[in-house]
């Protein structure tokens, strides 16, 4: 492969100057003449029948322009994810605390707030079901009259489970719990909608999938999708929480009803109350192994509480099921993943999508096994670790798994794992030091037999500058920068010549969701697909201009080279020529995630094909009198396939660790009878600068076949090992494992008491 000019080089984020000077426009910064303020009324109860809804007083209030209820929705009154079960505006039943009853628009915030208060609702509060295990019992209150609380139960089987456990000389079985988690993106949800001069409904909002947003908006407003335009401004974080629609449809309905621009923003409290969360999941994990520590079989039962509306629930549980065996050779497996309905807050996509929850259990289980067979945690992972060519319990064969042992060994080396016994384990009478590791497998893409494709457009202008039209969402993870790098490299132009459009359904074809760590892979390949014919045309023109054979010519950073000699010809010259010669310098690329190998008969039909690996090691101090856990250091090593932007990639790893530290130590949305109690950033705690210790991170490259330049997703795998590594470290410090996070001081102290 030729030396690369741009891919692989540390690259400043696109749009950085706009963000750093305050010019960047987030949704809440947009203003339009005559813009109204929209607000939503949310249910006062997590489960209730709406007996009476009287909006007349609100309608009569000064400054109020319109007040909408479910009867005013022209099209479908539901969101559409896995099911169309969640209403946009409740008609009869509110099923969780975040169900909206009314959407209104007024001239200003104060009028809108006052009008909300004037809406009269008569509720009949109903008993609800607020515990997933209770919900699964016969005789439980049913969330829906016509379907079971057990919405889905997926079973993945591989090998001969009975034989596997028969062969086991050692059995470990434990149950693990992870909590309900809030994304806490700094930008609360917002949408601005207006009716364009030609009747098109425009919706600006932060999101992760503009075409999917468009589809849902259109069907609710009963207009063709082509008459809806979704545009993403700069986005203030998402982490999966803006993958699904939030207030876009409501804003569009209000714009459609009033004919005026409407801005609908959620307050932080409304945000925490209403938007999807990370599933709290209970995992019961039984591992069978030989006395030497080699896994022979696993039996896993995972139960996830998804709230009343399915959203991404079954998918999250299925991704958990498809990875809960961890980065290990597991010859026999029986995995059950249950998606349970309750009247608790809705759960959906959040960074990791079930894998952090599942592999929290996996990695604690590995340490438990290590203790049982008296092996070092590193050695048991090396003993069982996957290698290239191995087959997973889903049936997928690993094209590239060098990263498993590669990251594991590198992390151990960086941490000084072999010498860790030499560190003082009792630095003070009340302190205990511990070391823990976690090694994980993560997926790139959405799985076989799931729509997983992306389009991208490249238009080169006659001056050689390039418009990259993508619907992939950059939520801060640096997706646009990476795609621009790929485009610039492939077209042989300078990075500064590439302009990436904001995601816009009128400008770019669907890229699918910016989720599943798939954007670099799928959209990157789409960009390469679009670049190919343009590059060929440019080289053809260059060959004609120079009289040299095409094979000798290359394009680099805007100039033409013959072998390695720079010619006087520039890419801009070629582009100018193309215009003169009726030659096309624009193309639409398209890529679908590939599965070139057939899946063996009887195996899991939605298995992923691309995997990444990561290992993290944490060193902690535990105060055994207070129970406080202090993380001293985290070592994070991750396989990125190929690092396209080293600067951005490192940030993704460090940021993932930071989120993982919060997950391990302090984050939990507390729910009481369906109501979240800690609805603010004062009571829902995420790490501050003082809570994050030194993180030493390194990215390794085990190039992935079929990936653009060999790269694969980073942003979710970086979060996954942190909490189990810290939890294993605490177990090491105390001499006993704790199987639930967050490791609050009180929980740790209770564990110490039980010693």
């Amino acid at each position: 492969m030729t030396k690369m000019e741009i891919v692989g080089k540390p690259t400043e984020a696109l749009g950085s100057e706009d963000i750093l000077t305050g010019k960047a426009r987030y949704c809440g910064d947009l203003t339009f003449p005559g813009m109204l303020v929209g607000k939503l009324l949310y249910s006062a109860h997590p489960h209730a029948r709406i007996k009476k809804l009287d909006i007349s007083a609100a309608l009569a209030m000064p400054g109020v322009v319109t007040v909408l209820t479910h009867q005013d929705i022209p099209g479908k009154n539901n969101f559409l994810y896995a099911l169309d079960d969640q209403p946009i505006l409740v008609s009869q039943f509110a099923r969780y605390q975040g169900d909206a009853l009314v959407a209104l628009a007024a001239e200003d915030k104060n009028s809108a707030q006052a009008a909300l208060k004037a809406i009269q609702v008569e509720y009949e509060p109903l008993p609800g079901v607020y515990d997933a295990l209770e919900a699964m019992k016969p005789g439980s209150i049913q969330v829906w009259p016509d379907r079971s609380n057990l919405y889905d139960r997926l079973v993945i089987e591989h090998g001969d489970i009975q034989a596997g456990f028969d062969a086991a000389e050692v059995l470990i079985e434990h149950t693990y719990h992870t909590p309900l988690i809030e994304h806490a993106f700094l930008e609360p949800e917002c949408a601005v909608s207006l009716v364009d001069w030609d009747g098109t409904i425009i919706v600006y909002s932060p999101g992760q999938s503009p075409h999917r947003d468009r589809h849902q908006i259109a069907r609710a407003l009963a207009i063709p999708e082509a008459k809806v335009r979704v545009i993403y401004p700069t986005i203030g974080g998402a982490f999966g929480g803006k993958d699904e629609l939030h207030v876009q449809i409501h804003a569009a309905l209000l714009a459609q009803a009033t004919g005026r621009p409407v801005m609908l923003e959620r307050t932080r409290e409304e945000s925490i109350r209403t938007h999807v969360k990370r599933h709290p999941i209970q995992v019961r994990y039984r591992t069978g192994a030989t006395r030497e520590g080699k896994i022979t079989a696993i039996h896993v039962e995972a139960i996830g509480d998804t709230g009343p509306y399915v959203n991404a629930g079954a998918e999250v549980m299925s991704v958990l099921a498809a990875t809960v065996f961890g980065p290990y050779v597991v010859p026999n497996a029986h995995i059950e993943a249950s998606t349970v309905l309750t009247n608790n807050p809705i759960c959906g996509a959040m960074r990791g999508f079930g894998i952090p929850q599942g592999q929290f259990a996996t990695e604690l289980q590995m340490d438990a096994l290590a203790r049982e067979v008296n092996l070092d945690p590193l050695d048991i992972r090396l003993l069982n670790g996957l290698e290239t060519g191995d087959t997973l319990p889903t049936g997928a064969r690993l094209r590239q798994a060098g990263g498993m042992k590669g990251c594991l060994l590198e992390a151990a080396e960086m941490a000084g794992w072999a010498e860790r016994q030499q560190t003082e384990d009792r630095p003070a009478p009340h302190l205990r030091r511990g070391w823990g590791m976690a090694s994980i497998i993560f997926t790139t893409g959405l799985g076989r037999n799931v729509p997983d494709s992306a389009g991208a457009g490249l238009d080169m202008a006659t001056d050689g500058s390039v418009l990259l039209r993508t619907a992939a969402s950059d939520m801060g993870q640096g997706a646009h920068t990476v795609l621009a790098q790929i485009a610039a490299e492939a077209l042989g132009v300078e990075l500064s010549a590439v302009k990436v459009t904001q995601p816009d359904t009128h400008r770019a074809t669907s890229a699918g969701a910016s989720a599943g760590s798939r954007t670099t892979f799928v959209s990157g390949n789409a960009v390469l697909d679009a670049a190919k014919p343009i590059r060929e045309t440019l080289l053809q023109i260059a060959a004609e201009e120079t009289g040299l054979p095409v094979e000798l010519l290359s394009l680099r950073s805007g100039r033409v080279y013959a072998d390695d000699e720079q010619l006087s010809l520039s890419v801009a010259d070629l582009a100018g020529q193309a215009g003169q010669q009726n030659r096309r310098l624009h193309a639409e690329g398209f890529y679908t995630m590939e599965y070139p190998e057939p899946l063996p008969e009887g195996e899991y039909p939605y298995a992923h094909g691309t995997f990444t690996f990561a290992t993290q090691i944490a060193r902690v101090l535990v105060d055994i009198e207070t129970g406080e856990v202090m993380v001293e250091e985290v070592i994070a090593v991750q396989d990125a396939g190929k690092v396209i932007n080293p600067g951005g990639a490192l940030g993704q790893v460090e940021g993932g660790c930071a989120m993982g530290i919060g997950y391990a130590l302090m984050e939990e949305l507390v729910v009481n009878q369906g109501r979240t109690i800690n609805n603010s950033l004062e009571s829902y705690l995420i790490p501050t600068a003082k809570d994050i210790p030194q993180i030493r991170a390194r990215l390794l490259e085990f190039p992935e076949p079929y990936a653009p330049y060999g790269s694969k997703g980073i942003g979710e795998a970086s979060l996954t090992p942190t909490a189990p590594a810290i939890t294993n470290a605490v177990a090491d410090a105390l001499g006993l494992p704790i199987r639930q996070i967050p490791l609050t001081a009180e929980r740790v102290l209770a564990a110490i008491d039980s010693l």
Partner: protein, 292 residues
């Protein structure tokens, strides 16, 4: 949040007069760091805000054997004051642990006290330093020990027509050492789960002449653990019954269970923090002794 009226008096008398006029609907605002969130949450709904900003209430001065802090002294000012660092180090440590710099730049000691959260971080140190409060009303002034000021969450001895003007602290003399410890659920921007301040003063025979132990977040109000203090009185520095005092202090707490912690855990942490704070103060006294 409905919009109240706003008034910025130029003198204390003007402020007091306005309070009197409003028959209970007026609310003093200083830094606003507690008040504005409470108004936003609908917990308080004043029809008038009386802003103390223009009043000369933010001075820190020493007058003979007292230090006077104006009620509007911000937590940031406390951190910057050499005088306070010298004589009231436990107060400085407590103020460092309040919010972040931007909150400390606005939040005031007076506000911290009058807001009367059981978790008010400035209260335990001010209690162990024997603070008195100067409360003024139209034509009258009274001086009240801080120990008598708190009644319960959000409830103080401040009358509707009174303004807290100053905090008065005696300058500690002799051999004295103090400590402040706070337990929170993260390392910054945390409301105290438990907070503790202690101060020990020795007589010439190296015995405890004065012991002060104050607890925060473990009762409806910040309070002195009087029984625990008695355990230490008259005892020699070399053999202080710290463990016993800490245990007694835990018994004097009446903590509730809330989103941050259970009552049982809080009670246990009183013992731990009092023990550690007393040890710290002792060590400091012993170092002073050796230093000569």
């Amino acid at each position: 949040m409905t919009f109240p009226d706003y008034f910025a008096p130029a003198t204390l008398d003007e402020a007091l007069a306005k309070l009197g006029q409003q028959a209970g609907g007026a609310q003093i605002i200083a830094g606003g760091t507690d008040l504005l969130p409470r108004m936003r949450a609908g917990l308080v709904n004043p029809n008038l805000l009386v802003d103390l900003a223009s009043l000369a209430l933010a001075g820190i001065r020493r007058e003979s054997s007292f230090v006077y802090l104006g009620a509007r002294v911000t937590h940031a000012q406390v951190l910057e004051s050499k005088l306070l660092r010298q004589h009231y180090p436990a107060l400085v440590v407590a103020c460092e642990a309040i919010g972040g710099p931007s909150i400390r730049n606005r939040g005031t000691l007076g506000g911290n006290l009058v807001n009367a959260s059981p978790a008010a971080d400035a209260a335990p140190p001010l209690l162990v330093y024997d603070a008195d409060l100067l409360l003024v009303s139209q034509g009258a002034e009274r001086c009240l020990p801080l120990a008598d000021f708190f009644f319960g969450p959000g409830k103080t001895a401040l009358a509707r027509d009174e303004i807290l003007k100053e905090v008065r602290l005696p300058v500690p003399s002799g051999r004295t050492a103090a400590a402040f410890l706070k337990l929170g659920k993260r390392q910054a921007m945390a409301i105290a789960v438990v907070s503790v301040a202690v101060r020990l003063t020795l007589n010439q025979n190296s015995r405890i002449d004065q012991a002060r132990i104050a607890l925060g977040s473990v009762a409806p109000r910040p309070l002195r653990a009087m029984e625990s203090e008695k355990v230490l009185l008259g005892r020699p520095l070399e053999k202080l019954p710290i463990v016993e005092a800490a245990s007694v202090a835990a018994g004097e707490a009446s903590p509730i269970s809330d989103i941050r912690a259970s009552g049982d855990y809080r009670r246990r942490m009183v013992e731990v923090l009092v023990r550690r704070a007393l040890s710290s103060a002792c060590q400091e006294l012993q170092r002073e002794k050796i230093g000569g």
